[in-house]
Symmetry: C2
Subunit: 236 residues, 2 copies
């Protein structure tokens, strides 16, 4: 992801250009500056809340002047929406990768004749663990501000913006249901699966409020604890 960021101060400029030093015209860092704004906004929205963060705060965080964010975004709300949409798209990618890795590890085990698990597909419990682990990653890794902003600031979206975010959310929550249904059939989950999904995701989402990356233990251990809390031991 490291793009070429040539400041190009030497390529032209016969004399000294007016104003502070400029980058060369072929330095197209438009997307870069825009992304910087998005990241700064995500961090500020998460720490202070959307309404309590001024567009001046965001501009200052990336060394811009107060009016400049509006060159990249037509409004403060559009910036918020972009944070959420990017956060959810990234979360969907992470979730898909986690499920894919789970399947592949089982395919590999099967390919070498390792069939102790009895079936080709990962067990429902393993699948739930993978979903939980990916979810903690998305919420709690240092710098993971985008999805927490979505979780806690969606009230500030316009109804139209909310629609697109809700659609992404539904897509993200979809894989949880069949896994919980499997666990229910196995007798390892004694609760309505729809309510169970709401309660489980709530338990995980709330970790944003109390988890401390420096002293909170590993996300692996946390995922194990959560899994053991929600599903019952295998029937003997």
């Amino acid at each position: 992801m490291s793009e070429t960021l040539d400041t190009g101060l030497l390529t032209e400029a016969p004399r000294r250009p007016r104003g502070r030093p400029r980058k060369s015209p072929d330095d197209r860092d438009e997307g870069n500056r825009r992304q910087l704004l998005i990241h700064a906004a995500a961090a500020l929205f998460r720490n202070k809340g959307f309404a309590a963060t001024s567009t001046r705060d965001i501009a200052a965080a990336v060394g811009m002047q107060s009016g400049s964010p509006f060159y990249h975004f037509k409004s403060k709300g559009a910036l918020l929406h972009e944070v959420m949409a990017q956060g959810m798209r990234s979360a969907l990618r992470q979730q898909a990768l986690a499920l894919q890795a789970l399947r592949q590890s089982h395919d590999a085990a099967q390919a070498v004749g390792d069939e102790y698990s009895g079936g080709a597909a990962p067990s429902p419990a393993e699948a739930l663990r993978a979903l939980i682990r990916a979810h903690f990653d998305i919420l709690l890794c240092p710098g993971s501000d985008f999805v927490p902003v979505m979780l806690y600031e969606w009230r500030s979206l316009t109804p139209r913006q909310r629609e697109t975010v809700v659609a992404l959310q539904r897509e993200y929550e979809a894989p949880w249901l069949p896994v919980l249904q499997d666990l229910h059939r196995q007798g390892r989950l004694h609760a309505n699966v729809h309510l169970a999904r709401l309660l489980i995701l709530g338990a995980l989402n709330w970790s944003v409020q109390w988890f401390n990356a420096e002293q909170g233990g590993s996300l692996d251990e946390l995922s194990d604890v959560a899994l053991r809390l929600f599903i019952h031991p295998e029937a003997a």
Copy 2:
């Protein structure tokens, strides 16, 4: 707390008092007006967030002029803090009543020789159910805005205000731990009790985001589902 607040309009003004019609002077609603502000603020803070709610919004909600809330509260933040403190004190009362009712129902059962439960004290599972049920009451009953405001707006408190709220929170969370420890000993909870408490309270707290009082089913049913999700069946 109802102090004598004589507006004195009648002691002087011999004709018709200026301004809109006044209530009679013996209508001492000082505490009442103050409580009205607190309730209106709680509802607005919950629905729009603290930073997005103006003191003018709050004043208008109770029919006051824009500067009048500052007759009752020295700042917007003091009003927020009062919402949270009242919410937590009320929650503590509700929780204590629920636990007391649980114990009394067992005492009564014992008094008439109904000893099917084998012991005098309520079972840990029953105690957890009572805690969960009371918690849902505190969060989800129509008009229960105070504690949700505390859960979602504590960032807006000053450090000093936060201390008093955190102390109330700790008091509220205290009774959960011994109950979870009992369940752990019984083998009905397979997780670190401290983490279990965080995860369980998170699952419940998050219900504020999705529960719909009109169509969401009863809080009794919801409590049963949550209980079955978190604790394992009794050992055979």
